[in-house]
Amino acid sequence: MSNQTVETGSSKEGLEAFVYDDKIVRMFSWATIIWGIVAFLVGVIIAVQLAFPDANFGIEFLSFGRLRPLHTNAAIFAFAGNAVFAAVYYSTQRLCKARMYSDLLSKLHFWGWQLIILSAALTLPLGITQGKEYAELEWPIDLAIAVVWLVFFGGNFLGTLIKRRERHIYVALWFYIATIVTVTMLHVFNNIWIPAGLVHLIKTGEFAGPTFLMKSYPVYAGVQDALMQWWYGHNAVAFFLTTPFLGLMYYFMPKAAERPVFSYKLSIIHFWSLVFIYIWAGPHHLHFTALPEWASTVGMVFSVMLWMPSWGGMINGLLTLRGAWDRVARDPVLKFFVVGVTFYGMSTFEGPLLSVKAVNSLSHYTDWTIAHVHSGVLGWNGFMTFGMLYWMMPRLFQTKLWSTKLAATHFWIGTIGIVLYILAIYTAGITQGLMWRAWDETGRLAYPSFIETVTVLIPFYWIRVVGGLLYLAGAVLALFNFYMTWKGRPDKYEETVHYAAPLSPNYAGDPPAKSRQTANAGFGHAGDKFLQGNWHRTWERKPVRFSIYTLIAVSIGGIVQAIPMFMISSNVPSIASVTPYTPLELAGRDIYIAEGCYNCHSQMIRPFYWEEKRYGEYSKPGEFVYDRPFQWGSRRIGPDLAREGGRKSHLWHYEHFKNPADITPGSIMPRYPWLLEKEINFPAIQGRVDANAMLGVPYGDMVLEGAAVEAAQFQAATIAAELEEQGGPPMDETMDKQVIALIAYMQRLGIDLYKEAPADASTEEEAE
């Protein structure tokens, strides 16, 4: 039913009648719980694989490197994303006293988003990935996200704000505005690429396979790509997992507690300081890497500043329950909200702590970060979502919740699950970090073999499995409870007609300030009007202007970090001996990305004694100028690979890919038997080289038709022959196999620093 104006003379004279679209909320709510179970299930599967690697059954589509991105994408975009949409569609209509702007856009949004999730679920296990954390989805899906998010969702939301019947835009809606505006900005700037496969198809008419058709390379490389990715990555957490959930908190907590938010003034300060500060904090993910020091320090300072608004928001949320604490003991909805907000406080205390460089030197690359992330997603996002669903589902189905006891059971096993998970993984992370940096009185590493720091963690990994299973079981109980509640729904949902007056274009309730000064001084009059503080209340009534101001606030941090990074050449000194990857190495690098190796291995040696002792000379910014995308990684389930080249024989790598545990007893790296059987896609190699050449990589004659393929075949034959000499299989059995390309890439890693510079090389600065 759409909006309608009630005829003059009726009992509701001059009012407009409307009904809310709750069907779309029901759809997003079902999607939330179903995709949530999928995300948690995949999480449990990969948690088991870390403790018991053969749990992938030797199937490539089930390997850790491919499933982990599926888990993170499902948790963020499918579970949390659908929860956000359910919250937005429910609360926006009621806060605006208006049905959503367009039912069609609502439906396009819902089905478009589910299609994107399905595409992710299909492509990621196939190894179709951009290789950037939380931005793995390839270019066709990126385009779909842009359209669905901005046009269908953003357009529908903004349209609803514009045609609303409530003058004031409530603070929850500000957080939704910030979410829509900022996620759009982040998504667009982090996904500027060249679709290599499509360009190759158009240019040559040659179809080099469906996987290659979806392949893209980012326009950014190395350090710049890293900055852009973590600007995105950190703010995806901020503006996909924080701001919309704060909007949810500011709407649903007062509803559940049946009292207004503790301090509306504090919520306004919370909003502006959060959206301004959050966007700066991304570089704290790159401390002690090849990122320039100034950028890293800016990221740390703003992360610490973030404490204030985050805790302001948490306190505001918890104090909303003033006078209602007795109900928390009885009401599962409030239980979920209280623990959810408490986890928000814990996570936002811990995040700034981890951004402090001294702490980060210990925590980075360890499981500590994983524990931090899971306390945020399972505790904050998960419990706020479940609290919202338990409050909303009975209202949406117009009946009572089937079982409050079952909801309370869900709460307790979910809480125990989180606690088990994070305590085990905090312990694992700190153990890892301390073992990596330990050395004895002679200056030698106390644990020189990386595997020692892996096997010691296995008991904690099993505890994580138990914690994850409990959390998953809780979600299954919720699904069952919602299903039974749904079964008790009426035959036909009642659609209550609401009435509200349209907004008058001339608002007289809060007139513009007038100067109280008597002197004839223009500046004084303007200043006095300003000091009366009406301007912010004016913003709060103008959604387009408000959105623009929010965009400005969130843009400043990005601009201030990105412009110097991209424009100051001294930030990335070039190194004369660093040359582009050979065509075969480039193909091998793309296999490395497709297999998701970055999920377990870093390629960034930090300038610490213990890191150089273990891995070799620290990494330099100029070493990564041809890395599209950068592969620095964010955790070390396995060792760093930045200087892996030349350290081991081809045969070692071949046997290691075949079965890592044969070479390194106790290794939890999965087996990669398919790499020994699957053939290199040689026709696609020319397209890979051409795309990189378009981005400025000096490939010279390699861009001539067939040159790259010929060079790749020659190098593959050479490596296969060397492998045979080292005792490996006959070269004609391996020279066209993917493992050879991957070995070529592994043997190239980190060696350029020690090569002679080509005679024609020019450089701005020599390597230090």
């Binding site: 806060l95 004031h168 409530y170 938010v261 009885r330 009572k400 009366q532 503080g533 301007w535 001294s570």
Partner: protein, 73 residues
């Protein structure tokens, strides 16, 4: 001379400091504006989620008196 060369000579390291000052100024202005807001206006705004005509307020959670609650709001 390209844009990169020009930018490289501009000492843009001071850039974040300027932005921080801008933030502090904007933050102070927002605080001022919030503190100046009339109590009645703020109270009305904070009550909006509770005035939105929720059709079905159904709960089988006992209220503070221990009674089951079911009401239309």
């Amino acid at each position: 001379m390209g844009v990169t060369d020009i930018m490289s000579n501009l000492s843009l390291e001071i850039y974040p400091i300027i932005a921080l000052i801008l933030f502090l100024v904007a933050f102070s202005i927002i605080i001022w504006g919030v503190l100046r807001a009339p109590r009645a206006v703020i109270t009305h705004q904070s009550m909006l989620p509770l005035e939105d005509d929720t059709d079905f307020v159904i709960s089988d959670t006992p209220d503070s008196s221990g009674k089951k609650e079911q009401r239309n709001g």
